[in-house]
């Protein structure tokens, strides 16, 4: 690797996690939530997305490319750390470990999820309410999706906290503490939206 790219890479990694990946996560969870309003509402929302101009380019620029960079560099970051919770059981050290753990879980979940939905769509299936209902006919998949979605949301919420530190937005311990509470609320609210959507398909 070229010399002195680390600073730029780490900042890019932090930025991409929020914009666009984090924003896309919120958008995705919101669309899912429409399933709680009935099958037709959900299918209409999904079809509306298909009218986005040059959708495939938007998908690559907004989702796949940022996600690939974030995932590959994230794996590198996760495996350079030497976790030491046994000796230093502080709250932030737990968050540090969980951020890396949920990142890996989310990546495994996403690979599976993209294979099951987006790739199948490319191979000719239609993404709609029935597709999801069929996936969730298997209780193991319900558990897998709950773990995956909660991991992704935790990773986003806690990532938002460290984004604020990494870009020097929250400097004082007090502002960082308040940000902890703000991101906790983000975690709880998004988790409610995400998990209730899963049970709408069951």
């Amino acid at each position: 690797m070229a010399k002195n790219r680390e600073f730029g890479n780490r900042r890019l990694h932090s930025l991409l996690g929020v914009i666009p990946i984090g924003l896309f996560l919120i958008f995705h969870l919101s669309v899912n939530f429409m399933a709680t309003k009935g099958e037709e509402t959900f299918n209409n929302a999904v079809h509306a997305i298909e009218y986005v101009p040059i959708l495939i380019a938007v998908e690559w620029v907004v989702i796949y490319l940022p996600l690939i960079f974030h995932a590959v560099y994230g794996i590198y970051i996760a495996f350079t750390a030497k976790n030491n919770l046994g000796r230093f059981g502080f709250f932030r050290n737990w968050m540090f470990m969980l951020q890396r753990l949920t990142g890996i879980i989310t990546l495994i979940f996403l690979v599976w999820h993209i294979w099951e939905t987006r790739v199948q769509k490319a191979l000719g299936s239609e993404v709609n309410f029935d597709m999801m209902a069929e996936i969730f006919s298997n209780p193991i998949m319900i558990a897998f999706y709950i773990v995956g979605i909660i991991s992704a949301i935790f990773h986003f919420a806690n990532g938002l906290w460290s984004f604020a530190v990494s870009w020097g937005l929250t400097i004082t311990p007090k502002s960082q503490k308040i940000m902890t509470y703000v991101t906790l609320v983000v975690f709880v609210v998004l988790s409610y939206i995400g998990v209730s959507a899963i049970f709408a398909f069951v």
Binding site: F79, S162, T170, I171
Partner: protein
């Protein structure tokens, strides 16, 4: 006749930098107000293990004996700290001593902390004041700012923050919290601020500031209570601005 009170130590020893570490247990007569160093001195006087085996005295570093030099840092009951202020009365028995393995072990509890001094050179943690002629007095520092900066100046380069950091390890090139906070200190000084950009650019290189993963163990472990994570966050802001200056261009001050 009452049995004499004793204290027990389990010490991780290592004969050479490359040899395998091993544990030895010692039992010493208790004395009031003992600290870890006085216990180590007692063992040095009579290097016999608990089982009665004669052994070599334990090697460790020490200097000031009042927690301002940082030399006697080691891992005591799992926590990195200074052995001079580790009072035996306040420690759980048996007391376990081990070297700070983040650094290369020289022998027993003695480690080579020179990477921290190299880091200070790397980030230019000094204020250049020499000229070919008398440059005269520099700008004055407001008293309030001096008092604030003094907190950052308490760093004794002990290495506890590096030992506590999960991102400082043999698989990573992270320089750790200690030199970073010093950059904030020297950038805060009115004369030091004249070389601000140089220091910021130095911590934006590989192994620098960006490697912080916000576990915040450093600020929890610092024996001097230095606001290390506040320094890191402040430098995150400064380097963000510096990187815009570098990329989009601005007057180089």
């Amino acid at each position: 006749m009452s049995e004499t009170k004793t204290v027990r130590f389990i010490i991780t020893r290592q004969d050479t930098p490359d040899s395998a570490p091993y544990d030895e247990e010692f039992e010493l007569p208790y004395r009031p107000n003992m600290n870890v160093i006085s216990a180590l001195m007692e063992i040095r006087r009579n290097p016999v293990t608990k089982s009665g085996k004669k052994t070599t005295p334990i090697a460790w570093d020490m200097n000031c004996l009042e927690e301002v030099c940082g030399a006697c840092s080691m891992v005591i009951n799992g926590k990195p700290r200074q052995s001079c202020t580790a009072l035996v009365d306040q420690l759980e028995q048996p007391v376990r001593l081990a070297p700070m393995r983040t650094f290369p072990v020289v022998r027993d509890l003695q480690v080579d902390r020179s990477r921290m001094f190299d880091n200070l050179k790397k980030v230019k943690a000094w204020i250049p004041i020499d000229g070919t002629y008398n440059l005269g007095p520099g700008p004055r520092m407001p008293e309030r700012k001096r008092q604030w900066a003094y907190e950052l100046a308490k760093c004794m380069t002990c290495g506890v923050c590096l030992e506590a950091c999960p991102n400082v390890n043999d698989g990573s090139n992270f320089i750790g919290p200690q030199p970073l906070s010093q950059v904030r200190l020297f950038n805060a000084h009115p004369t030091g601020a004249m070389n601000r950009a140089e220091r910021l650019n130095a911590i934006m290189t590989d192994g620098g500031l960006a490697n912080c993963g916000n576990s915040q163990n450093c600020v929890q472990s610092c024996p001097k209570g230095i606001p290390l994570t506040t320094s890191i966050a402040a430098l995150n802001r400064d380097t963000a601005i510096q990187s815009f200056r570098n990329f989009f261009g601005s007057d180089q001050v």
